[in-house]
Amino acid sequence: MNEQRFQQKWVSRRSLIRGVAGAALGTSLLRPNPAYADQGDDDGRRCRGPLLKPIPGGVVPFTPFGVPVHHNPLNPAVALPDISDPSEVTDFDGFVSLTHIRGGGTGTSTAATMSLAYQADMGFGQGKFIGIDGRQHRGTFAFV
């Protein structure tokens, strides 16, 4: 893995673990960070660089302090026909998924073992897209 790829792998994650009074809240949203596709574009050449174009809109949690997140979280109260675009990528044609799950688990530190809770907002996209280079590419991306 070259250095560029290494750095790309170090994606930021919000709230992986939040230790508060014995309860952790781990959601799973990446800090906005351009994804890189290297599955090869339509003419067979491997592509490099930040290619994905985010959907317009999304959410800005903790306004005005938070950064915009080009993501429409699922809401259990919203009927399926009324959901917002579940893709984080625009100019996209392919499979998408999202899930909103809560659960529990066990955290182990050097000092203690504790029961923790988490909340995850995750999904994926797989298909073709028009990159910021104006060309068509294919790729698979996780929203973590």
Binding site: V11, R13, F62, F92, L98, T99, Q126
Partner: protein, 133 residues
Amino acid sequence: MVEVDDDAVEIDLDAGQARLLVRGLDVYDDHDIANSLTQGLGLPGGLGFPYPAIAPVVPVRAKVSFDVRWSGIVTTAQIENSTQGFKGTFLSTGATIEWSAQQDGFAFQSEPANPSRNLVSVLGHEKNGVFFT
């Protein structure tokens, strides 16, 4: 979004099933959602609900693995949303997740996959942006 291998995803839309399996993904643990979304600045407090004071935290490197599975069609819908510019076939499904994380001095292992933990999950095939028209 983070790029993953193509074979990290398995999907059978007709069956309402999909899987996202990733092992050892390098991430930053920002400690809490506020520090992640403010890029480590925390929240100043004094703003009332839902903005509690949250101290700035420096992120640390971690590795996460997760196995997310969608299955069990609840409802289906054909959506064409001209306002947002997307259309496609969508399924509301059940879902489960098992995940773990490791960092210096700390590890987390989720409970086994438990379908009752699902709040809402969606699978679909869609076109948006220039592919919408």
